[in-house]
Amino acid sequence: MMLLAVLSGFLMAFAVPALRRFAGQHIGWLLALLPASLTVYFASLVPSISRGEILLIENQWMPGLGITLDFMVDGLSLVFALLISGIGTFILIYAGSYLKGHKDLGRFYVIMLSFMASMLGLVLSDNLIAFFVFWELTSITSYMLIGFNHEDEEARKCALQGLFVTAGGGLVLMAGLILLGFITGSYSFTEILASDLQIQEHAFYTAATICILIGAFTKSAQVPFHFWLPNAMAAPTPVSAYLHSATMVKAGVYLLARLNPSLGGDALWSGSLMLFGAATMLTGAYLAFSSTGIKKVLAYSTVMALGTLTMLIGVGTELAITAFICFLLAHSLYKGALFMLAGALDHETGTKDITKMGGLRQSMPLTAAITCLAALSLAGLPPLFGFVAKELMLESLLKAPAWSLGLLVVAVASAMLVVAVAGLVAIKPFFGEVLKTPKQPHEAPFAMLIGPAVLSLLALIFGVVPFVPAGILLDAAISSVHGAAVETALALWHGVNVPLILSVVSLLIGSLLLYKWQRLQPNLCALNTAGSRFGPEAGYFRFMLGITQVADWQTRLLQNGVLGIYLLILVLVTFGLTGYTLLTRHGFELSFDFSDGYFYEFGIALLLVVSTLFACATRSRLGSVASVGVTGFGVALIFIHFSAPDLGITQLLVETLTVILLVLVLFKLPPFVNLSSPLERYRDLAVAVFAGIVMTLLILAAMDIQFFESISSYYIENSSELAFGKNIVNVILVDFRQLDTLGEIFVLGLAAIGVFSMIKFRAEDQHRP
């Protein structure tokens, strides 16, 4: 059931083209049935989870590699699963209206459903490797969604940037996860969390932690990787609302929260989380305040929220974790709603620029009302859930065990800016004088308002009675992040205390900032443009340019089109490394003990040597081909003499056919001439002699060594009894190792078809007049 629930998105994605023909423009509503029913399914798990149980559903995937599709449901993953499926329902409805009549609507839904399934897999996976696979799947689907308008060059560039940053971080994360698996000896989250191993004291702890942090920071757009998220706003708005605010960017935070009980408690972990989280929080809030595009404003405020979440995990006290879960829920509710509303504004007015909107409350009263509600939550004002979360955050920072004052200052500064940002989003477009917009504005359609309305109302309800969601599920989630059972007593009103006073202060200063915004913003914008030359995004571009330059340089050096150089490098590297290993591990040993040979064996060896040298030295092509043939016959003689009759016969026949083939083909080519200079010849000769010496040493060393017991004895003993054959070589070929032979004759077939087509096309060229 759980497997089906996670994978149903992929299955549904296959059905989209057919459904689209069937449902026409109502496809959004039809597809939303899937996440809706998933929401119901996940909700049905709530009672047992809130009792503190952890569900583990086992599915095999690649048993040989220890990779499973086990799913683990605890409070944390269930909160995420509910957010993903719940918000997903509204997003799918919303997108049907937002992208109505778009020619690629079908493709959009295919990727969107695949993303939803990957995201569910990510938060529910118990296996580290499966987790990583789903993680990368979300990066890839995010890439395809950012670049959804693939005819727009800017969108393609932004999509690629997002992919490079998140997938690059993903690679580092994989290293971290494997190290973690190495430290704990298990690739299962449940087992890692349950083990009482002191991970912090392991030698690999620092490396594993840094790798995991880089992976999580890139995905969750922490400073200095935050620049990709605003650029991801090139995606259609439903994508921004879903992937880049409510779900995917929280994957990094999810990972941090998931591993907090195991990896946390160490100065490295909490220090870097607090440091980067606080920096991200302030940067995001500042950049949100200084932007004018409504989606950019929201994107930067998402960056700010992600920073807050990271910081709260870093603080790590019970109170901080409570604030973390509440802030996570509050943010998903209001930010998803605000993005959808921003999309509605864009859709109805034709502009994304806040400065060009004004007085829209008359033409879009419903949109205005819902936006105000959601923005109240963003600003952290009562009686919305955002207020509860913000008060908790301030209180937990007050009582933080380390850096309390510094974090508090940063948090209050961000809170001021966010108040101003909330005002920007809610007041600027809807109040004041009416500005003329590119499109005549009118109320957004029902499908685009239902989602924001429900989410905002939930934020309001949760705000008034915060103990209800806490009792149902949040306590369980807090417990799973904190690593020990937690009972909370959330309330909207705590009386007049320090956090409340700080809130009031930030509200007042924030309002002042909002009032001055029109004067401040252009200056800030100029400052940002000047500063961006040194920012991390400039670093990203310089890095990408550097990669191309290095690629260019090494291609010129190594792949310059001259076959001789390729071979030279190949030979030198291969034989250099082999020779080095041989000398260091085995030593230089030459043996001249030829006493075990019969005189006619020396004859065969002499034949080989002379014919090979003649083949190289002669200036006649026919002579060269003939003496190579003689070498081949010499090899056949060796095979026959040393107990390999099958080989001898084969070698003889093949050698004959080779000579025939060469005669057929090569004599259309010009005769031998010396093309290279003497210097090049001596260089090549030196390289070749070096390779030959290494091979000789290798053979001499290899003859006395046997690393493994040969499997030949099995073949020799069982050839007659099991395979009813007396010629063991043939039995190996057609019975014991039949699959190899099957592969080989297919290679033969490929070569034949290749030769045939090359000659055939040539013939056709000639017939052409």
């Binding site: 040298l613 083939l661 031998f672 390779a691 010496i693 000789t696 033969l748």
Partner: protein, 115 residues
């Protein structure tokens, strides 16, 4: 005998690599042929040389008594010989085709038409 063969095989490798580094494509082909012979001999010699005891079970018997040559490398080499031949055929035809298109058998000049 194996010691002697080690030197012979070293010579074969030297010859083949030298020939493959030449700029003339015909010499490249010759080098390829010698290389496959050298590689096959290498496997054969390293696995151990046994005189006069082919891996065949006598008529009527169920088991081999006494030492016998190792059948596994022989099976490997047998397939290698045939594969090497078909690869060689492919390479030879490809080279001739390239010669016809480019009009030179100088490998250094072939790179310029790499479009």
């Amino acid at each position: 005998m194996a010691t002697l063969m080690a030197y012979v095989i070293g010579l074969l490798f030297t010859a083949s690599i030298y020939m493959m580094l030449r700029r003339s494509i015909v010499k490249l082909v010759i080098g390829l042929i010698i290389l496959s012979n050298a590689a096959n001999l290498l496997i054969f010699v390293v696995a151990g040389l046994t005189r006069g005891a082919p891996p065949l079970i006598a008529e009527g018997a169920q088991q081999i008594t006494g030492t016998v040559a190792d059948p596994l490398p022989q099976a490997l080499i047998l397939t290698a010989i045939v594969i090497a031949f078909s690869v060689l055929a492919f390479a030879v035809v490809l080279i001739r085709r390239a010669y016809e298109v480019v009009g030179t058998d100088d490998l250094d000049q072939m790179k310029d038409t790499d479009t």
